[in-house]
């Protein structure tokens, strides 16, 4: 069977502008325009715009929507006010991570929008439907109708303010507003992102996404705005130590091992994976996710082994040259007894042991 690769509403725009395209999570996406390092730096220093229309959006509504979500995810959804957003792992019965998602509260107790990882959209949709008990809760996959643009960087607010009919100063981090009009198009705008910078994510009807993309690029020009690909998105999130599903997060590792325990609320009642997570917390996880920087020459890459005194103690989940730090850095799982800040480890690169040091997370924290 021929594999179908999906295209975002901006596919032809990317190709026309000469972006290099790759397949990611079943989608044809731009990996870079001018170059990953330049795009990375412009997002840190000015502003970058990213096509993230591949992300999945699942709408859950009904009288008992909140109860269902409380059972599906590990964080406490009942704390959400209308217009507020929550980050949460969604786990299976053994505590492994099915996905990490954002939950947008559109109406308290009743209407929520889940934003999920592109490659997991279909899996999540089935998972949610299979694990919902009530008949009067609707689960709708609106991914194919929803375009998404991420505008990130210190000038993001200034740029978006030129065209949005809403005072963005009033929008706090992890809050959103519905029906913000941009050039007559009603969008959901949230103060969120995946870069470690201030920024916004804009949800747009599929067929109007190109209009908004072109508009933002045009009006952002004076502020140095540049289009950015998945390559820069990956280096930006790595520096901020934001986990990526399929790398740091997996179905056989718990949020505890991933360092996401603060997004698990054991006192909220029953939820999927609770027993397993409680057990993991009481015994302590076998592996812990750590950040490390290379002390000798070499770039760590996903899948490389981590060794200490000739013993294999873990594996790399993400690694790259860090444009902001100008060092080679990585994230990886290391046996708990070795997972201490300052500890020297070795990364096995092409059968050579290359020295690295465990450091505090994150690598990069923006000045506020």
């Amino acid at each position: 069977m021929k594999k179908i690769i999906k295209k975002t509403p901006l596919n032809s725009v990317h190709k026309k502008s000469g972006a290099k395209m790759i397949e990611f999570g079943g989608w044809e996406m731009p990996v870079r325009y001018k170059g990953i390092i330049a795009e990375h730096n412009v997002t840190r220093e000015k502003a970058g715009i990213f096509d993230v229309s591949h992300m999945g959006e699942i709408l859950i509504n009904g009288d008992k929507a909140l109860d269902e979500l409380q059972y599906l995810v590990t964080n406490d959804v009942s704390r959400l006010k209308k217009g507020q957003i929550l980050y949460t792992p969604m786990c299976n019965n053994s505590g492994g991570v099915v996905d990490d998602v954002l939950i947008y509260c559109k109406k308290e107790r009743e209407v929520y929008l889940l934003v999920v990882n592109a490659a997991n959209t279909d899996k999540d949709f089935e998972w949610i439907k299979d694990n919902i008990h009530q008949e009067n809760v609707n689960v709708v996959n609106i991914s194919d109708k929803t375009g998404q643009i991420s505008l990130q960087g210190p000038f993001a607010e200034k740029i978006l303010q030129k065209v949005a009919d809403y005072n963005l100063k009033n929008m706090k981090h992890f809050w959103f507003e519905e029906d913000i009009e941009i050039k007559g198009v009603k969008c959901i705008v949230s103060r969120t992102g995946y870069t470690g910078e201030d920024g916004f994510e804009i949800y747009i009807p599929w067929e109007r996404t190109e209009l908004i993309w072109n508009l933002l690029l045009e009006i952002g020009k004076d502020n140095g705005l540049e289009p950015c690909g998945l390559g820069a998105r990956d280096t930006l999130r790595l520096e901020a130590c934001l986990p990526l599903y399929g790398h740091e997060l997996r179905e056989n590792l718990t949020p505890v091992a991933a360092g996401l325990t603060r997004f698990v609320k054991l006192d909220k009642g029953d939820f999927l994976g609770k027993d397993a997570i409680e057990e993991e917390l009481s015994k302590g996880p076998e592996y812990k996710l750590v950040a490390f920087e290379m002390l000798e020459r070499g770039i760590p890459r996903s899948g490389y082994k981590i060794v200490k005194d000739d013993d294999e103690v873990g594996f790399v989940t993400s690694g790259s040259y860090s444009p902001t730090l100008r060092k080679n850095v990585g994230l990886g799982y290391v046996k708990t007894e070795a997972a201490k800040t300052g500890e020297e480890i070795h990364i096995l690169i092409r059968n050579k042991k290359v020295k690295a040091k465990i450091v505090k997370k994150p690598f990069y924290n923006r000045e506020v």
Binding site: G231, R297, I299, R301, S320, Y321
Partner: protein
Amino acid sequence: MYPRDLKYTKEHEWIRVEGDEGTVGITHFAQKELGDIVFVELPEEGEEVVQGDSLAVIESVKAVSDVYSPISGTIIQVNQRLEDEPELINKDPYDEGWIVVIKIKDKDELEDLMSNEEYQELLEGEED
């Protein structure tokens, strides 16, 4: 973009032959495909290489790529500047971005390589 005086491999290396020595690098196409080059792992001077074997490793932000030797012989010089300035390969792939100089063992092996016309034909097949 693909100088006439060089010979090319289908893996996008070039060699410039002067007497019994050959300078080796990667082509403009290869550096463009890789994107920002951030790391080069170089061989040692004096190492013997066989045509088609991995000679060096080049890493861009996203990709790890082997450089295959266009020819058999002994490495007599390596471009140490690439350790601190790997981006030289992006900026100037045929001159400052050279990787090694090889003392050629058997010049007949040059017959296996492509001229610039042949290489450009190959690229036309690879590019969209």
